[in-house]
Each structure stands twice: as structure tokens, then as C-alpha cells.
Amino acid sequence: MTSTTAEASVSASLETATIKSWKAPIAYAIFSLIAIILFVVNGRDGTSRFRLSSDADVIQLPAIDAPTRLTCVVVVVLLLAITAYATWLSSQAKRVPLWLTIIFAAAFMWAFLTWAAAGESIPVTGLLLGTVALSAPLIFGSLGGVISERVGVVNVAIEGQLLAGAFLSAFVASVTGNAWVGLVAAMVAGVLVSFLLAAFSIKYIVDQVIVGVVLNVLVAGLTSFLYSTVLTSNTPLFNSPPRFPRINIPILSEIPILGPVLFRQTVIIYFMYVAVIVVWWALFHTKWGLRLRAVGEHPQAADTVGIKVNATRFWNVALAGAIAGFGGAYFTLGSVGGFTKEMTAGAGFIALAAVIFGRWDPIRATLAALLFGFATNLQNVLGAIGSGVPSEFLLMLPYVVTIFAVAGLVGYVRGPAASGKPYIKA
């Protein structure tokens, strides 16, 4: 037993001291202030109605009516209380827990919805249904990002992978008349972009962020060029892909609220559920995941136990491309059908934001992507009911939220240790 006492931990036995962080209370205070200005000073009268069921549902839930001004005032008081609590926590040098931020965000969002829907009614099911659909490419993209970054290659090229997937799936599905073949083509397209990313960053050791940015430009240019020269030359033949129909899952789709939201979707969404769970499980519970994470954290250590670092990186970046490319198919086969120039419109960057916001964890990244999808769809819904909120500010929301996230509101963000660093052997 003497050995254990002699070796007693150097770091573990050091005295600890406290570090105060004021980031969270400051952020809460900023949002509380916005809430006061928007919802109280600039408050509205009337009633806000939240519809929980659509007419087609078997089980009908009653709608909730909330008096706008009163609800807003109550929620703002709640926000202030949370801010005060967070301030107290920080002054005591305690951490502000994540759940507090979630409650704060939810309360803020509730107040916002109530305020925006004064005198109108919000279709909650429709709002959430669209959220899931709009999140699909973001989720696929962020899964690709998680895998790529976990293995040590920064993936700024998600946008390019999505766009390439959208393009090739539209083209191939049109020519073959088969959406499933289009889906495979989307994955191939994503893999091709990944090959370039992997080759330049692993073999030629070009800075990974630079390769990613340049690849996005390259894919945008290439797809636009081919769109103008090939796809538009014969739209019926080259750019009229069949679309996947919505499939209602029996029984499950009749669950109130959740049923329509989760189980009246296209096959792409069902693949998405599977992908999220499989990636999460495999990343943390299989040999593949263990090796992948080892390579991204400490490539030398992985090398010394016989794992081929660069090959592992290469093929997993390819896999990441396949998943992201799959997400690209959503834009064409899952929603609008035909391909248009730069139709991904920055979704890849939102996916990248979700990766970071989700701290390189598949589940958290998925939740972040859902949040961003929600913001986008909220803008659609509010635009439709004419609430008078400038749609630009809602569209801005994911980006602003991400800025707050990387600025430290969500706590200490630590990515895979070796992400972005090439592995060079002598």
C-alpha cells in the first residue's frame, strides 16, 4: 500500500480555489432587457391562441388562449428572477447550470410567441412539424461535421457537401426517374467533396479551414455552372426529380402533438432518426468510435498502438461526406424537387454552428440543429399569420444564438484536441 500513498495524485490533491464567471448572468441580463423593451414597453394587447391539433387529427386537444400582455409581464418577471438567481450563483462562484439556460430560453421563446401572436393563433403542430423537416439537412450536416471533427479534420465544407448532394441527387433522380437512386447519388457527391477535403488536408497538409472554405466556393461555382449549362438545357429531363412522399406511420402518427410532428414525414426524416441514434451509439460504444475519437484526440498515441491515423481520418471524412451529402438530398428529393443555384443558402454553416453549439456530441448537435430549424420555421409561420415581426430578425436568430454560444454562454467549449492539426510522421 505504500505505493499508493507515495504516488498520491499531484493534481488531484492540490487545494482548489474558486473562479467566478459572469458570462451567463450578463447574457441573461441582455436578453431580459430585450424582453422588457419588446414585450412590456412595446407590449401588445389581445389574446394569443396556441392551436395544439389540426383538424385531421383523431385525438383533438383544445386550443390554449393566453391574454397577451399579462402573459408577457408574467414571463418577463420570471426571466428577471432567473437572471437574479444566476447573478447570485455567480457571486457565490457557483456554475450556472445548463438547465437554467434552457428554462430561460424556453421562457423567452414563450413570451416572444405570445407577443408575436397577439390577436392571432399559432398552429403549434405545424410549427413543430416544419421544424423537424427544416432541421433535416442541418442534422445530417452536423452529424457529418461531428464525425469529421471528432476524427481530427475540421469540416467547413459541410455547405459544399450539402450543395453537391442536392445537385447530384436532383440530376440523377431526374435522369433515372428514381428518388432512391438519387439518394445514393447524393451520398456519392458528398463523398467526392470529402475526398478533396481529405486529400488536400491530409496528403498535402493544406490548412483544413482554408480547404473547406475554398471547396465551398468550388462546389458553388461548379454546380451553378453545370446548372446553367446542363440542367437548364433540358429541365424536364435533367432537373425534374421525383420527390419522396410523406409516409404516416400507423398508430404512432396519431399521438397528440408528437405524432403529426415526428411520424408524418418523408423517408429522409426517418433515416435521420436512425442516423442520429446509430452515430451516437457507434461513436461512444464501438471499436470504430473508440479509434475515431483516439485519432482526433491524440493521433500519436493512436499511431503507437497500431492505428493508421491518416487512413482512419481519410475514410471517416469520406463517411462524414456521405452523411452530409444525404442531407443535401433533402433540399431536392425531400422538399422542392428541382435544383436551383446555391439552394442550400448557408445551411451548411448553420450545421457547423450546430456542431459547435452541440459541443461535438451527436445528440446535442441534433438538438442545436432543431433549435435552429425552429427559428427558421418560426419566421415562416409568423410571416404567414402576419404578426408584424420583421422576418429578418428571426432569420438572424440562429446566427446570433451561435455567437452567444461560442462567446461562452454555454460554458467551456472544448473540441477534439487534435482537430485541425495534420498528423505528420517523420
Partner: protein
Amino acid sequence: MKLELRGITKRFGSLVANDHINLVVQPGEIHCLLGENGAGKSTLMNVLYGLYQAEEGDVLLDDVVQRFAGPGDAMRAGIGMVHQHFMLIPVFTVAENVMLGHEQTGLAGKLDLDAARAKVREISARFGFHVDPDAIVGDLPVGVQQRVEIIKALSRDAKVLVFDEPTAVLTPQETDELMNIMRQLRDEGTSIVFITHKLREVREVADRITVIRLGKVVGEASPTASNSELAALMVGRAVELTVHKETARPGAASLVVRNLDVIDPLGLKVVNNVSFEVHEGEILAIAGVQGNGQTELTEAIMGLQPRVSGEISLNGEKLTGLSVRRILNAGVGFVPEDRTEDGLVGEFTIAENLMLDRSDSLPFVKNGNLQLGYLAEFAQEKKDEFDIRAQSITTMAGRLSGGNQQKVVLARELSRELKLFVASQPTRGIDVGSIEFVHKRMVATRDAGIPVIVVSTELDEVVALADRIAVMYRGSIVGIVPGNTPRDILGLMMAGETPTGVAA
């Protein structure tokens, strides 16, 4: 298993790191590979382990020629390695680290963590290690991390085990325990290669000794050889282990540190209630095993640590809370521990590096403009004075050898008007000639009446330079003792024990 290396030659560009090296390690033998930093020991072992491919020569196991394309092949052949810089993934558990690379899996590729845990417990029990398989490696103390490395190698049934500078991070007591483990392994029939540059350890544990210098085997020695015989073989000439210096004539207390605490980003007190004084014209050495707060202490003096409480003052002027720039301007010279990371800009020329910490004031800058003419003159002068061996002052600092890089740092720091000089590990990884030079300049600085602090983990260097020695352990100063304190007492202090009769 018998290991034989035959005529191994490994080149990096024009540099021959290993030149026709022959080595035979018999089963059940501890074979020491002794040599200076940079003699080519680690390169040789990386060739053996399949990390590098040799240009010429063969590796033989039990007289069969082996071809290793990578570490995986070497491991399968029965070679294990305990690396100098641990090859462990800090965010993984012990069990995950041990299983990595030869994972047992169950249904659908699910990791069989239970098997790995059992393996860890089994090997731990054999050697009395007490390692928790589910502990996160990054949370473990270095001594335990090294045991995880050993478990990792043994879990693959290694018959030849290479220890690459394993004692650098250990206290003397932990070193003794490691020696016992090595003997136990040897008695079980494992062939052990023990790489080190520390003479004492070699004589204590080795069955045979091979000395290499500048990439070549220069001789074999028996464990009964004396320190000076081994050292002479190692560096190629009789070395002076002591530095010639006059007795110190300390003046008034110049640097005063009172109740200093430093808190790291995780909230740990890495420096805990440290107080000491340094007088004009004396060298205070701060001894201790790597990672006991020495680095943070020097960084706190330089204003590089963000969370510092307590008081540091230089000649009555308060330094705490000042920016690095103000502290430098107050006359503090600093040689950081990691010269390539913190001391130099590798892609800058020697001349540019010489003005690095005076980048906004005279004489190098006037009205926001660089004074390039003056800089060239100054750099040429310092290059000659400090014997910096390079083509010209426009050579990139990153291209220089370690010793010459350190001379650039010294030249920069010592050409300012100093009121305090702080050098952290000033001779780590540099050649003998440069070590002598650095030591001479430090003594000269002391003799000019400047208080000097030198942080070193090498006991030899501490004993050679110090007028007084402060020993640090777990962030605190165990005691401050005279420069002529015997090594065994210093060793005990480095393990945190305060020997009776030691006065601060």
C-alpha cells in the same frame, strides 16, 4: 525473447541520427541505452518500434529478421514501449486506453469494456499497482499514468519492453519503485531496454550498458563503472560536472514574494502560499520534479498567469497586477521553459527574435517605424558575442539547433538593463558546449549583482549553480536550503518530506 539490432542507420535529410548501430539484448536482462539528449536513443527505439523506417540494417527477434511497417507489427511481434511522452488519450478511461488498438468486441461491434477492465485489474494485481480501470487518464497523477502505459504494453504480452526516459517525470521515490518493477519484469523473463541519460539510475539497475553518442555506439560499460567514466563516454571528453564560481556575495533582498497563490483554469491551486526572497548577487535555484508548480511560479512573476493573489515586489516596486510589458520594462529578464513555444518565433529571423520583447520602444522602434539598420548592427554584434552559430542574422530561428536557439534567447534577455533574471530549465535539451556557455553567463549575471532565479528539474544543474535551493512540491515550497545541501536530502524534499534540521 532475444532482441538484436544490426547495423541500423536512420537519416533525416543530411543528418545521420543513427549510424550503423548494433545492439543485443538477452532475455531477462535490463540493458541500458545511455546517451545525451539528442544522441539518437529515441530515434533508434522508434525504428525498433516501427514508427520510423531505417535506411539500412535489420531488427532481429530470436534471430529472425523482422519487417515492421508500423507500430502494430512491432507490437504483434512482442515489442512494447513505455514512451517518454505518455501515449495515452487524456479523455479516455484507463480501460479504454489499454484496449485501444486491440479491442475485443461483442454484438454489432460493441466494445467489450468488461474484458478490458478485467485485464487492467489482473495486471495491476500482479504488480501491486492499484489502478482504477474506470478512472479518466487525464485526472491521474503522472506516476499512475506511467503505470497505465506499462499495463498497456503488458496487456499485449510484450516480451521486449522499452522504457524511454521513464524517470524524467518521477520523484526519486517513484523512480525507486519503477526500478523495482523493472527488476520484477526482468525476473519474469522480459527483455528490457532502459533509455536514460541519468548515470545514477543506470548504475543501479542495469545488467549491461551501451553508450551512444552522436548516433553511434561508442562503447559498452559494466554497471560497476564510475560516474565519471560513464559521463566521459557519453559526451566524448571529461566533463566538469561543477561550474566554477566564486562564493556569492549577496546584497540586499531584491525580489520579495509573499503568500503567492496561483490558480489554474480548473480552479486548482497550482502554487500555494509561496514566500521567498532573492538577494542581489545570488542564484536561487528552484528544484523539484516537473509539474509541481515551478512553471506557474515563474509565469506568475512574469505576469503571465491570470489568477494570482499574494504579493511580488522587485526593489520595493509592486509587480503583481502589472502587464507583461510593464514587468519586462521594470527590468525582469526571462528565459521560458519551452524555448520553441514561448521563447522564439521560429519563422522570424535571428535579428527579429533579438528585438522581440522590445517591439514598441527605442532603440528598435522610433515613431512606430522599425529601425532596421540599427537592428542589423545590434544583431551582428550579439551573434558574435553569444557565439550564435548560423549563416547570418537573417537565418530563421527555427532552423537553429537547440543550443543556438537558447543563445538567441539569452542574448536578447541579457542585453537589456536587468534588475532580475529568471531562467526556467535553461539547459534542457541542448548540447554540452552550450550548457557550459549558458551556465557561465548565468554566473556572470549573478556576479554583476543581479538576482538570479533558475528553475531546474536536473539535480546536477541545481547543485552546480545554486547559492540557495528552494524545493517545490505540490505547489508549495518544502524548504529553502543552502546550495551545498546533500543530494539525498534534496531528494527527500522533492518527495514532499521535510527532513529534520532543515531551516528555511
